[in-house]
């Protein structure tokens, strides 16, 4: 019987399909990955056992430990619409087409209206500096700019949805089409400061909020609750 010959040397493996697959996955993840925009303010959100992801369309108000308030909303077109509303309410705010374009892709805003134009036109370095020194959006009852941001934000969102042919019926049926209201506060923020923001929302007849939290697993010997 002839001896079975063992192949000598290193076995050659055709890696081409593996590389193909690898790069396919790389491409997929690169294209789908959404990076968080650089945040002007760092907040350490509290953890909860809720595993529900944040809705796509969201108006987000951030409150840091000092009680400074930042406003943000998703959707480039909706933002472009809303800032035009702000220019109507606050005539001192003068912005050109270019400024509106820049604003529409910006992250959270924590400037009073008087400084907004300067902030939008600023370069990145100056903007970081302005973010560090700002007092946040004013929320006092005498100068409640946050209320205007909320009203204009919702108006801009609604008109943008309208332009895209989304009807109210579609919005009632599909939660993903509606605007959610997020509150992102640092765990060490005084409740009073968060409550102030919540009360402004409540005066606008908005009662349901999405509190941004970090996920923390818990041993599920507990009774099942609805996710």
């Amino acid at each position: 019987m002839p001896k079975v010959k063992l192949p000598k040397g290193a076995p050659a493996l055709d890696m081409t399909p593996m590389v193909d697959l690898g790069f396919l996955l790389v491409t997929f993840f690169m294209l789908t990955a959404k990076f968080r925009a650089p945040e002007p303010v760092m907040v350490d959100t509290p953890s909860s056992t809720s595993n529900e992801p944040l809705p796509e369309k969201v108006m987000m108000v951030t409150v840091d430990t000092d009680g400074r308030v930042f406003w943000d909303m998703s959707g480039k077109d909706a933002r472009a619409q809303m800032i035009k509303d702000m220019m109507v309410t606050h005539t001192e705010l003068q912005l050109g087409e270019k400024d509106i374009e820049r604003f529409s892709v910006m992250g959270p805003i924590g400037q009073p209206i008087t400084k907004l134009a300067e902030y939008i036109r600023a370069d990145e370095r100056l903007r970081t500096q302005m973010d560090a020194t700002t007092e946040g959006i004013p929320t006092d009852s005498l100068n409640n700019e946050l209320a205007d941001w909320i009203t204009a934000g919702y108006g801009g969102f609604a008109r943008d949805q309208d332009a895209k042919g989304v009807t109210i019926e579609m919005m009632t049926e599909d939660r993903d089409l509606r605007l959610s209201y997020g509150i992102k506060a640092d765990g060490d923020t005084d409740y009073e400061k968060v409550e102030k923001v919540i009360d402004i929302f409540r005066k606008k007849e908005i009662y349901i909020f999405n509190m941004v939290t970090d996920f923390e697993a818990f041993d599920s010997d507990a009774a099942g609750s609805v996710e």
Partner: protein, 212 residues
């Protein structure tokens, strides 16, 4: 790294004619694969990590804080959670507040703290939820029925009602923690209120008593 298979190629023939090299080019793809998978790993982790989670919180419509008469609440169902300035300042009492007799008991947000108390208090409802969950997990009821039944069970008229009372300096994370415990223990009847002055005074006294 890359080499060309030269076997049986080239000249060597009688005529010495130069011929184009035949055979395939072998390329060592290992470093390329390494890189590809490194990138995959990075993007996979980056994608999932940047998604924040949320807890839904519904506030009541009335903004008038002093108007507590509207919510008629049976005293024996009331469970009041008091959040003080520090993280350890978590107290509770049940029933109606009486400045002289009400004793505030300290608890915490650990597994054996508030969660255990609320589980016991809400036992009847939790048992029903567990049963419902079993039915749902074994696919005997669909999601729609499950959700409907769930809200019916937790909305029971004899379910405990938890009121979270805060002072100005209560920390946000403790409010979220408390809300989270309520979610875990299926207590859906809840409210957040500002602490009454008499309660605040009693809480301060209690904290001083315990030397916290």
């Amino acid at each position: 790294m890359a080499n060309v298979n030269t076997e049986g190629s080239g000249g060597g023939g009688k005529h010495g004619k130069k011929r184009a090299k035949k055979g395939s080019v072998y390329l060592d793809m290992t470093p390329m694969v390494d890189l590809a998978f490194l990138l995959i790993t990075f993007f996979m982790l980056a994608t999932t990590l940047s998604k924040p989670k949320t807890t839904e919180l519904i506030y009541p419509k009335e903004l008038d804080k002093d108007d507590t008469t509207k919510t008629k609440l049976a005293d024996e169902l009331a469970f009041i959670l008091l959040l003080g300035e520090e993280d350890e300042h978590v107290f509770y009492y049940t029933g109606k507040f009486k400045p002289d007799t009400t004793v505030m008991i300290q608890t915490n947000f650990s597994k054996d703290g508030l969660r255990k108390i609320l589980f016991d208090k809400n036992k009847r409802i939790n048992d029903q939820v567990v049963k419902l969950r079993e039915l749902f997990d074994s696919k005997q009821v669909d999601e729609e029925v499950y959700k409907e039944e769930y809200s019916r069970i937790v909305g029971d008229s004899l379910a405990p009602f938890v009121i979270i009372k805060t002072i100005e300096k209560s920390k946000w994370k403790n409010v979220i923690n408390a809300m989270d415990e309520l979610n875990i223990t299926n207590v859906k009847k809840r409210a957040i209120q500002d602490m009454a002055e008499s309660e605040d005074i009693a809480l301060r006294q209690r904290i001083a008593e315990l030397g916290l």
